[in-house]
């Protein structure tokens, strides 16, 4: 017995056969069990499809349910784009003029060199040099994991190509870093001592509570721990993270430290840069390159062959500087033994205390007293504010174009003011601590530094989200790109104007913006990390609208 094919059966069920053929089929089915079963199965499949398609497993977004006449109208795109381009230009200029140029100049002065932007950003490769030896398989794996996670989390909102582009770009950056060349000598112990007669003919990486180098390290010394003392000699660079760092011996390379307390009482053949709470540069010690430091309290009594860049809230200089000196701080003292060959620039909150006996060979210092209160009478002040507004807008433009979904979700998260602010405070405090802790483990260094960089970016970006949120609250919701950008521009402008409030007012606004934006961003990221939980809710078929 011949049977009807599946196509004909489907057409029959969908009422697409002509009357004669339909009657024929229906008569056949009365006597043919197999065709009857096929019809039944196909009908069951149709039912299954209808049921599956009309079930609601996720809710309709709340913003879609609100109807705003402005939101549905086409946006005045050209105007928005023209202003966007204008602001973008101003922003790019200001970024260059205020950030990139001065930073490169200062880094050049400090002997960091700037072969490439990347190298410049990471301290002229010194950081990476430290990485070279540490960049082993574990770190590569950590980096790869990060990238994979990035793809997984971002792919939902990004177009496939842009996600790939970003991730590949990041991968290229990672691979561009020189691979591990020589395996360094790694020591882990509570106390690590390099004895006076010991010579390590390799780079030395130490994790220890207390590190003492009495002997010689013929390579770089990378130290993680609490107390570090170098009485011997290091022929390469010293990179030290710790609470207390004392250098009494000789370092033939550069010294870079991140510490609470740094005491320099020896000789450094190249440059020194340090971030520390307290920094003491003793009388008899010398730095043959430049000295760059940021500290809460600093005493510079030794000798620097080249330039000095000293930023400290309490800054006392009483040594010998071969090049120029850039001294910034709240309370600055230039002592009687000071001798500076080059120009002296002082930026301070109050009049510096300069001893009459100090020898400033290039003439009297250029003193700039920075007023706490912005100079509201100066038109340049407003121009600067405008440029900052532009700079923030450029970033907003990038975010709005690359991550429209993220921006929208974050702005929506902002509706939960209290939660955003609470989470923001938490993120503001916890993230850097967590990143610093992660940095202390060798595997985590890449992750920790990446985390810190993301944190800084997030801090700056927080104003974008706060601005977009504010703009939307002021002008109503918008869907078009032009409308979103216009709201962003207005929101950022309002924030900028509020930040111009004198003294505490501006600072409070700034803090609120950072906390709020950071909180909303954290909430959104957290939400995206949650797996989507489908909740099937059978409802009426949509045809019965």
């Amino acid at each position: 017995m011949n049977h009807y094919d599946e196509m004909t059966c489907l057409l029959y069920l969908d009422g697409q056969l002509d009357r004669a053929r339909a009657r024929e089929l229906s008569e056949h089915v009365d006597t043919c069990g197999e065709c009857r079963q096929l019809l039944h199965a196909l009908e069951g499949e149709s039912r299954l499809l209808r049921a599956a398609l009309s079930e609601e497993e996720e809710s309709v977004p709340a913003h879609l349910l609100e109807y705003t006449p402005e939101g549905a109208r086409r946006e005045a795109v050209p105007l928005a784009w023209v202003s966007a381009l204008g602001l973008a230009g101003a922003g790019a200029y200001s970024l260059w003029a205020w950030f990139v140029e001065p930073v490169t100049q200062q880094l050049n002065q400090a002997g960091f060199g700037s072969d490439s932007l990347l190298a410049m950003l990471f301290f002229g490769g010194v950081f990476w040099k430290g990485w070279d030896t540490m960049f082993d398989l574990t770190e590569l794996l950590a980096a790869a994991t990060l990238m994979t996670l990035a793809v997984v989390f971002l792919r939902r909102s990004w177009r496939r190509t842009s996600t790939l582009a970003v991730v590949l770009g990041a991968l290229v950056c990672v691979l561009a870093m020189p691979p591990a060349v020589s395996a360094a000598e790694i020591r882990r112990a509570n106390n690590v001592v390099v004895a006076a007669d010991e010579v390590i003919k390799n780079d030395l990486i130490v994790y220890a509570d207390t590190v003492k180098i009495e002997g010689t390290v013929e390579g770089d010394a990378i130290l993680f721990g609490r107390n570090h003392t170098i009485n011997g000699r290091v022929t390469g660079d010293v990179l030290a993270f710790g609470y207390l760092v004392r250098i009494n011996g000789q370092v033939d390379g550069n010294v870079r430290t991140f510490s609470s307390f740094l005491s320099l009482n020896g000789t450094v053949a190249k440059n020194v840069s340090t971030f520390s709470q307290s920094f003491e540069f003793e009388t008899k010690s010398q730095v043959l390159g430049s000295l760059t430091m940021m500290a809460a309290m600093a005493t510079v009594d030794g000798r620097v062959t080249r330039d000095l860049i000293a930023m400290a809230s309490e800054n006392r200089v009483d040594g010998n500087i071969g090049g120029t000196a850039l001294i910034a701080g709240d309370k600055i003292t230039i002592g009687p033994s000071t001798e500076i060959q080059g120009k002296v620039k002082i930026t301070s909150g109050r009049q510096p205390n300069i001893s009459e006996k100090a020898k400033l060979h290039a003439g009297p210092p250029e003193i700039k007293i920075e007023k706490r209160r912005p100079d509201y009478g100066d038109p340049r002040y407003y121009w600067r504010q405008t440029l900052r507004w532009g700079a923030a807008f450029v970033l907003g433009l990038v975010i709005a174009l690359l991550l429209p979904g993220f921006l929208r979700e974050t702005v929506r998260e902002g509706d939960r003011y209290a939660l955003s602010l609470g989470v923001g405070v938490l993120a503001l405090i916890v993230t850097p601590i967590a990143a610093a802790l992660v940095c202390l483990t060798i595997v985590g260094l890449a992750v920790g530094i990446t985390g810190l960089i993301f944190y800084l970016v997030a801090l700056y970006s927080s104003q974008i989200f706060a601005g977009a949120f504010l703009g939307e609250k002021l002008l109503g919701r918008s869907k078009g790109v032009g409308g979103v950008l216009a709201r962003l521009a207005v929101g950022l402008l309002v924030i900028r104007v509020l930040m111009m409030l004198p003294t505490w007012g501006g600072l409070a606004i700034q803090l609120a913006v950072v906390v709020f934006g950071l909180g909303a961003m954290t909430l959104t990221i957290f939400k995206r990390l949650q797996p989507e939980a489908p909740q099937p809710l059978p409802t009426a078929a949509p045809a019965a609208l």
């Binding site: 094919d5 209808r50 879609l64 949509p542």
Partner: protein, 193 residues
């Protein structure tokens, strides 16, 4: 929305009354959003498309023939918008404008198809649907979510009327393959009566 009330709201909306538009929007946006969610790859796409569709509806409301159901017209606009979007993205893996392939004569064993239908959950069907080529997915959504006729589907997908059945049947086959992970074994050779 009851018939008389709807006619009145629609008439007001045609004159540009914002309140009436709001009412129409609130009534139909959820269904249109779900339509887009079924037809498009991501939630963000669906949200954007929903807004776009209502902008179009506003522009084209003059073309709506009041003797026909409003939802059918609405779905037509929605289908065009979604299909355009997919076409612009060039993520249609199947034939763009060419004719549909002749259907491979793989006929399912009715018993096995029956079991598959009984055993499959709605959730499985939905996740399988997301993995279908764009045209197959769209065809199933138009037919079984938007309840479109063969004529309307032909119009929306730009295929000849005679091929709509083939497109739908092929889509079903692909769906079955995705759900089972393989094709349904063919029964004995069937001929047409």
């Amino acid at each position: 929305m009851p018939g008389a009330e709807f006619t009145e709201t629609l008439a007001r909306a045609r004159t540009g009354n914002a309140e009436a538009w709001g009412e129409l929007y609130r009534t139909y946006a959820p269904a249109i959003f779900r339509f887009c969610r079924r037809a498009l790859p991501t939630r963000e796409d669906a949200e954007d498309a929903t807004t776009e569709i209502f902008m179009k509806v506003r522009d084209k409301i003059g073309q709506y023939d009041a003797t026909r159901p409003f939802t059918a017209w609405l779905y037509k606009v929605a289908a065009n918008q979604c299909w355009d979007l997919l076409r612009r993205r060039r993520i249609r893996q199947d034939l763009e404008t060419g004719e549909v392939d002749t259907l491979p004569l793989e006929h399912p064993d009715p018993g096995q198809l029956d079991r598959l239908v009984v055993q499959s959950t709605s959730h499985e069907v939905r996740s399988a649907l997301e993995r279908l080529p764009a045209r197959a997915r769209m065809a199933l959504v138009l037919r079984y979510y938007a309840d479109m006729s063969y004529d309307e589907i032909a119009d929306a997908l730009g295929v000849r009327r005679a091929f709509v059945g083939v497109v739908l049947l092929r889509a079903r086959h692909q769906l079955r393959e995705v759900i089972t992970g393989k094709a349904i074994p063919r029964a004995q050779a069937r001929g047409t009566v």
